[in-house]
Symmetry: C2
Subunit: 350 residues, 2 copies
DNA sequence: GGAATTGCCGTAAACGTTTCCAAGTGCTTG
DNA sequence: CAAGCACTTGGAAACGTTTACGGCAATTCC
């Protein structure tokens, strides 16, 4: 409510400008600007009276004009493959919140796979509008990213698709560690034949999780049976196909590790169709711990990625870069933890 | 790729400005601006040569400056309560796509329930930055919205929380019709005791769906047993509580209509916990048909709202308003359809 | 007691566009 | 053949900020 319905005195046309405020407060626009930007060189008294006028008339600075004049627009761009998604949603949410707290705005740019459009990089897409960008799961190659960087556009990569190139600010989750925990959990339950439905081949997340998976097996003195590893595209239908394949094996696995929740849930569906009881006939572990993990029944054991935190961290990293602060660590990995729920149990044979 | 790594000749410092292009093309900046904005009054030949230069140097106009000069920034704001959400996600996605197609940008502003902040309406929050806004499920009262409108800020409401005030552009789904379909479906299956878990009391969606629910019952010659109606907050935990209450009734319902997918899924969980088999012991219908409806097992029968379409429609409505076009219909309702899946069947007693 | 310093503030020049206005062509028209 | 018109184009003034620069007091210093 406030303000809204009580605006009797508006000595200016449309919206207040800095000049209106200046006139009202009896100072110059330069002073108003200084007050608004918390510059030190303005007398306490003057500052107060300007702030008073600002409060009374509900003024907020025109970001476009500020951008023009100072270069800092207070807006940052965000590209991502998919906005309606149980995985990206929380990251996006974290980014939005973190920016909001700093009174900055988020400009959303879904990439929609138009990688090779005439306009080259999304860079132009934001240039002049945003101060920097967060690239989620970018399609651009390491080289392209480096070029972008060399051109002086500040950005950070969140959840890199390829192995993160050095020299580029990048935040991701500890894929390997999470995968290892998940696998160890299954091993501890007594599983010996553990199938895996990996993500898309070549992706950083896939490779890293594979490393963790293999490492856990190796520590238990086992080598991965190549027949028990199937790749996917991270999506449920392919997860179901993969599950069919694994469960049709002459000697099927007693547990399946899905490299994300989507494919793991695909396994759940296939198992149900085949009349397998979860977790008694088959244990399933997912990865990401999205909202889906808890909506599904039985609730999915999954490796939790701190998704919102990933977004927030991306923002603070970007902001440090924008402020030209010496950035100590360009690479950040956030920890992952296994959340045990109802889809894992000892194998039936035990 | 394109462009990115082939930028040999850049006769200007940072990024190309309209002036650089003008110089390169040997025309005035006014002419370049005309070309860029598809104004008719420029010679074919001139237009071509300017476009040529633009293509070669990959130029895109500075939106901030444009906003300053012309008032149109090409950005529109979007407020919504929650970005990481199976319901809002697809709407947001629809909005983003629709804007992208028109080469406009989306500025995201999660409201985070700061309704009564000093800065009055989010209006100030966007003013000077955006050309207009889409308000999703706004917390503002009808009066507040009207005030906002009177101040001349263009906006449309998508999925109004309260009954949509007239005179305000507004797009929603046909709640009543969808609820009626769902109820009729249950009636046709033979259910006679049908429980309902409504949404938050007072909300437009709740009231409308209730109307449809009651109407279907009435047509079958039945009146709603007040004991079979429980309100919720649209979220799963409260959905589960409500389900407990309904199923603990001396004469429990044989079917439950959840007013959104969240609460319906809550019912599924409770049923499972109680050892009830779905759909044999209990039929369940949801509303919204979010991603969750198909991830859950058994897959949820639900009333489909065209979520992405809701967003797209909001955009086109807003754009018409921005262009000062005579807007024929300020209220738009998109149709809903029942999607029958695996959680509905005839009651056991039949 | 003059000079140097400090604290505060205003003037004005940017920033990159759009758009009004005027002016220059080359035609058509009466 | 002068006047009028249609079509192109350029000049320049906005738009709302930020900020370098300079100026004026009031202080401090030697």
């Amino acid at each position: 409510m406030a303000q809204t319905d009580t605006q009797p005195e508006q000595p200016f046309r449309g919206r207040a400008t800095i000049r209106d405020i200046a006139d009202l407060a009896g100072v110059s626009i330069a002073t108003v600007s200084r007050v608004l930007n918390d510059r030190p060189d303005v007398a306490r008294e003057t500052r107060e009276s300007v702030l008073q006028v600002v409060r009374e008339h509900g003024f907020s600075t025109n970001r476009g004009a500020r951008g023009l004049s100072s270069g800092r627009t207070g807006m940052i761009g965000l590209t991502l493959p998919l906005v309606a998604d149980a995985y990206f949603g929380p990251i996006l949410s974290g980014v939005a919140e973190a920016l909001h707290e700093r009174d900055m705005r988020l400009v959303l740019a879904p990439t929609l796979h138009e990688h090779d459009r005439e306009v080259s990089l999304l860079e132009r897409l934001m240039r002049g509008t945003t101060d920097g960008a967060i690239l989620m799961l970018p399609e651009e190659s390491a080289d392209e990213l480096r070029t972008l960087q060399r051109q002086g556009f500040p950005f950070v990569v969140v959840d890199p698709r390829e192995a993160p190139p050095d020299g580029i600010a990048c935040v991701s989750a500890m894929h390997a560690s999470g995968a290892k925990q998940a696998t160890q959990h299954l091993l501890e339950l007594g599983h010996r034949r553990i199938g895996a439905i990996a993500g898309a081949p070549g992706w950083y997340a896939t490779e890293e999780r594979l490393i963790g998976f293999r490492a856990a097996l190796a520590e238990a003195g086992m080598l991965l049976d190549p027949g028990l590893l199937v790749y996917s595209d991270w999506r449920m239908p392919r997860g179901m196909e993969a599950a069919e394949r694994l469960l049709s094996l002459p000697n099927p696995p007693t547990a399946i590790f899905g490299f994300n929740d989507n494919v793991a849930i695909g396994v759940l569906h296939v198992a149900r169709r085949r009349g397998l009881s979860i977790p008694d006939d088959l244990s399933v572990v997912g990865f990401d711990d999205t909202e889906l993990a808890t909506t599904v029944t039985p609730q999915l054991t999954s490796v939790r990625q701190p998704l919102a935190e990933l977004g927030r961290t991306g923002v603070s990293l970007l902001l440090r870069i924008l402020e030209r602060q010496r950035v100590d660590a360009l690479r950040m990995e956030l920890s992952t933890t296994l959340v045990v729920r109802d889809t894992t149990a000892p194998p039936r044979s035990l």
